[in-house]
Symmetry: C2
Subunit: 473 residues, 2 copies
């Protein structure tokens, strides 16, 4: 394990720091306190505590309590409910909380949000709930939200906010400042709560460039915006997939980016806070998919969880039965040399583990585009080589163990040969399977490991028992 | 598989969009073009192409070519080398590129970076390279970078930039604007290239609050900063672990945050673009660790990769041998009923897969803090229940298959009972092992699966063969 640890020396440091933090974790403290107060029916005190909290903290508390306490908390939060709390909740819990409130109350709360958050809160609710809330929104907000919902799920159009600052390029810095000050005092402005760039547009609303606020603030009033604008900015088509948006933000270190329609007209803006969740979810999705589970699993009820996991296990049962059929071919051999039954899982298991290593690297690198058509052959070649070298090493070790255990050099030779064959196959198929699935537009994170396990089990048992039946009988 | 697909309906949409994109992927196009030019020794043309590219794109190209072409490209980039290219490269490749350049050249390039990027580039190099570059930096930059390096690895102090805007609270908006304009035209300013908040400090440099730029721009010149500052901001201790910083940025949707020392004095600022990488790496680290590989695996040479994976496989070999020893106890039983050898991998494999499902959910939820002491017992209870229900279902299926295959109801009963026992254990230990490791401050992503596989293999073989030896003989 030493080498593995060297790969991430930060862990120790991280955990030490985390340790200090946990010793006096104010959030766990607070949660315990609120739970105690709820149990003693001291609602007024809970209410006072909640009032000072960030919506994200309130959503955390709603996540951590049971359904009864959650209902009690929502009751307390009801007057002037802050819809941002909904935006921070996991989807499953969001539905539960929405069910506890009246559509009118939710609509009033949602109307206060920027359009991107409003769309985010509404899009995952079921259709009836969506309609009920939309009907209660002010007409203008409703139109913007409904437009947002016309974009495909997981597209840039769903992520963008419709509130942004766009001005013509002939404006000066002074005129921009005057405009923003006037809009702010008019109070009925549709200025975003927070923004980071001013977008420069032509009369047709086509994006010409952007000026970051920090650059505006450094420029004198007389400076024209077209003198300080950046023309070479990343513009996002509204139909772009959100993972691609996230990759772009990460790649270019963006904080906000304009979203445009097919004719390059400015539709909205995506800010990094919306993208951060997508970035975090991207890798998490692959992790869960490789483990054979779906998202939101933690919050599902027992029967829902059982159902969603059942299908994955059923697929694996088929794989296991195929492996058993292979073993079945060699019943006569095993009957004569029972030691084979004892040793055979070793070959299959080592193949499975070696293959999973390759598979994990390949799935991750495909997701980040580090692995692509351009270097696919090189990666496959490398994996086969790694499999060969490790195959040789473990052939010696496993062969030695088998000889020491069963006092039979032939059994040692058989397990050694099978180990080499299976570890080479593991490297080859661990790389080829995800690449092939990705080419076929099937998510490699979801489907790769079933195919891989089938290969390493079948090859493992076939090589070991097949060789044994030739050499030993 | 249907249920799994329902869990992430976005995949299809995403892949369809990706498909369009790939059809005319300008980056793959460009890469191919550059490779062709390199092979034909048309350096001038390559140079012209590279000149217009973002540093992130150049780093991508360096990643995708082989070592020889990389050296040729670095030679072209040499005059006025942009150190941001280094910041975007994966650590292993960064060292290769650094080796191709003179310390003086790198120092000149690094001096142009903000301190956070300078520290980022230098920190992962080996000590000799670090010293050589530091010695060639201008004294002031060198002092800031060396200070940055005194903070623990993976801490906020390493992530922060020392360039920020901080002003006293009695200033007005007008004075702030005049100050920024004057600093900008003095040109020798240490203003950051980009900033999003102005920090308000007292005479002791203690942080009193922050004003987002978009709020400054909406306020008239006469407005005092202390009238518009936000006092309740998230302040980051320099020693905070970077994963905790990332969690905070994500949780509160931050774009920048002040970093302070133990006495709350302002030291620097962390911006979201630095955090985005940490967020993305956090989940990726767990994914790779669960798969038994380290980071940067894709770029390692064959022998390094082999070595780093060997240790994980060696641990798994021990696990596999333990399982074999268990099988060895029942050699006599298997000799009499060979069908047992055929069927036994099914029970172990189903236990392993079911346990991995639970394990994946638990490891992920521990990383996001969704799973913690407060709900640990509830999650364990749920997993045992899910294991029981799926155990019952697969007992019926596997029992049926065994009876149909070997025409022996007793074998069917034995596999059914063993399946129930193993799937309950899988759920129990799939949740308990990562929780226990996390309590012991051992990274659950790295170590959980070895322990789990040992449990599900041993319990699987023991339950199946043990029951068989009682019932069948």
């Amino acid at each position: 394990m030493d080498d593995l640890r060297q790969d991430r020396p930060g862990r120790e440091t991280g955990d030490a720091i985390q340790d200090e933090r946990e010793a006096a974790d104010p959030q766990a403290e607070r949660l315990r306190h609120i739970r105690d107060l709820l149990e003693e029916d001291r609602a007024a005190e809970v209410h006072a505590l909640l009032e000072d909290l960030h919506p994200s903290d309130i959503s955390n508390i709603l996540e951590s309590v049971d359904a009864e306490q959650r209902a009690a908390l929502v009751e307390l939060l009801r007057p002037g409910f802050d819809a941002e709390v909904l935006a921070y909740l996991p989807v499953d819990l969001r539905e539960d909380v929405v069910d506890l409130l009246e559509p009118k109350e939710i609509a009033a709360a949602v109307a206060e949000l920027d359009t991107d958050d409003a769309v985010d809160v509404i899009q995952d609710l079921d259709e009836d709930a969506q309609r009920a809330i939309l009907e209660n929104l002010p007409p203008e907000t409703r139109a913007l939200v409904e437009q947002g919902l016309t974009f495909p799920e997981y597209s840039a159009g769903r992520l963008m906010s419709r509130e942004f600052v766009s001005v013509p390029e002939f404006w000066t810095v002074g005129r921009l400042l005057d405009y923003l000050r006037a809009a702010a005092s008019a109070d009925e402005s549709d200025l975003p709560e927070q923004f980071y760039d001013v977008f420069i547009v032509d009369p047709m609303l086509k994006v010409r460039g952007a000026v970051p606020l920090s650059r505006v603030m450094r420029a004198r009033r007389s400076v024209k915006l077209n003198e300080i604008l950046t023309e070479d900015i990343r513009v996002i088509p509204a139909t772009m997939d959100q993972e691609e948006v996230a990759r772009m933000f990460r790649k270019y270190g963006l904080v906000s980016a304009p979203v445009v329609d097919g004719t390059n007209r400015l539709l909205g803006v995506i800010t990094v806070d919306d993208v951060v969740d997508v970035i975090a979810e991207e890798a998490a999705e692959d992790l869960l998919a490789l483990g054979g589970v779906g998202e939101g699993d933690l919050y599902r009820a027992v029967l829902d969880t059982t159902k969603s996991r059942f299908s994955w296990l059923a697929v694996n049962l088929v794989t296991a039965i195929i492996a058993s059929v292979v073993i079945g071919f060699f019943e006569a051999t095993i009957e004569q040399v029972v030691a084979l039954a004892v040793l055979m899982p070793i070959v299959a298991s080592m193949g499975g583990n070696a293959g999973t290593q390759t598979l994990t690297v390949a799935v991750r690198a495909l997701a980040t585009r580090e692995l692509n058509e351009a270097n696919a052959m090189r990666v496959i070649g490398k994996e086969v080589l790694v499999g060969t070298v490790n195959g040789l090493l473990f052939a010696v070790i496993a062969g030695g163990v088998a000889i020491a255990w069963f006092r039979d050099p032939l059994i040692g030779m058989v397990i050694a040969a099978a180990m080499i064959v299976n570890l080479i196959c593991a490297g080859l198929f661990g790389a080829v399977i995800p690449l092939a699935l990705s080419r076929l537009k099937i998510d490699p994170a979801v489907a790769s490991s079933v195919f891989l396990t089938t290969v390493t089990d079948v090859v493992g048992f076939l090589a070991f028992l097949g060789l044994a039946s030739v050499v030993l009988l």
